[in-house]
Amino acid sequence: MPIKWILHWQPNPGTTVNTQILSEVSQCAESINGVKEGRWKTTLSFYKAMVREQATANDFPRDFVGISLAEQPSKYFLVIRGQRLVVEAESSIQIIMEKSQSYKTRVALSFEGNQYQLGDFQLRVGKVVPMNSENMRGIVMEMEYLPISSWEKSHQIMGEFFDLWQEALSKRSLPGHFVHNEPNFAEYGLSDEYTVQHTAVQYANIMAQMIATSQSAQATRN
């Protein structure tokens, strides 16, 4: 399947994300001749262990997430980032998790927005919001290149496209920029050939980075 990079918006120190920035980013996609092609949505849930004694909570992973992707609605992906583990399941695994009453959702987020076609590239720009809320927590972008499915082989063209994108966006003097951090897929047992599991790992990864960024911003403010 086509490879994609998933990037998140890093606000400049002292600033936060807002809908104005999202709207500027979307306009930028259109300004480079991106053709709007409808909506896209991903959801991510953080799970926490249900424990009988609170003191034992640390015995269980705290970075356990479940991811559902619009492109594969029948699938569900479970990622424990600390253990470099990604498991692909059917969406019915959520029922199993609910029935076994050992983990529950701590917080669920949705990533949603518009999709744009630019030749062989597809851009998806969206906001990160907690479920059942409009309170924006971040901005994400999926950058997909349709002709290539090898992570290595696509690296150069993706890098060049990202540079062009950053350049177009820089004209708008927004208080932040998109960051691309590559997870080490080999550590997850994933090969160079791109799969939907790679996408799940990237989502878990940017989520961790967004949390780290907001925590360090909070620490600075305090």
Partner: protein, 217 residues
Amino acid sequence: MECVVQGIIETKHVEALEILLQGLCGVHRESLRIHELCLKSAPNLGLVSSELRLICDLEQPEPTWTVRHIGGSIRGAGAEQLSVLVRNVAESKVSKNALRLFYALGYKLDHELLRVGFAFHFQRGAQITVTVSSVNKMLKLHATDEAVPVTPGIQLVEVTAPASSENYTEVVAAVSSFCEYLAPLLHLSKPGVSTGVVPTAAAAAASLMSDGGSTTL
């Protein structure tokens, strides 16, 4: 949900049972080789302890994995009258590294089994599956090649059919009436209610073997 009954049969009568099933179902048997890992939550995980079954189908060219949760059975006076157990089940196919995930989440291996035998899948008032298998235990962890029978000379027969809260009474009826055809060879009852082997098995088996299952039931 699923409807389920179980029974046991002596291995020497399994061939007769296969002939009978073949005649009843009109489909060919499929080979069965299932590695089943029973996982239990660590003592301090979960508000109640939970059990999951991780099932690996070794019969496939590339083994496939499924996780299964068996929930409670339906209750009440009506349920007790039924000869078939109706219980909640949830299943999901999973990638082959699922065991690592459940270990990471705090589940422990309670026991593992290897079921070897055959299955029939057919439609008869419900989508019925009959499995006939010898249940084996592993002498070393995950060593499916060195498995030994738990009950030598005895095989487990299981009849299951998927159901929903709307249609389970019809499915129960379909499973019950199918089980009657097998009655001369074995008795099927709710899991956990052991009824042993039936005394007519030897005679019924001899009859089936002699006429190749052509008797109309």
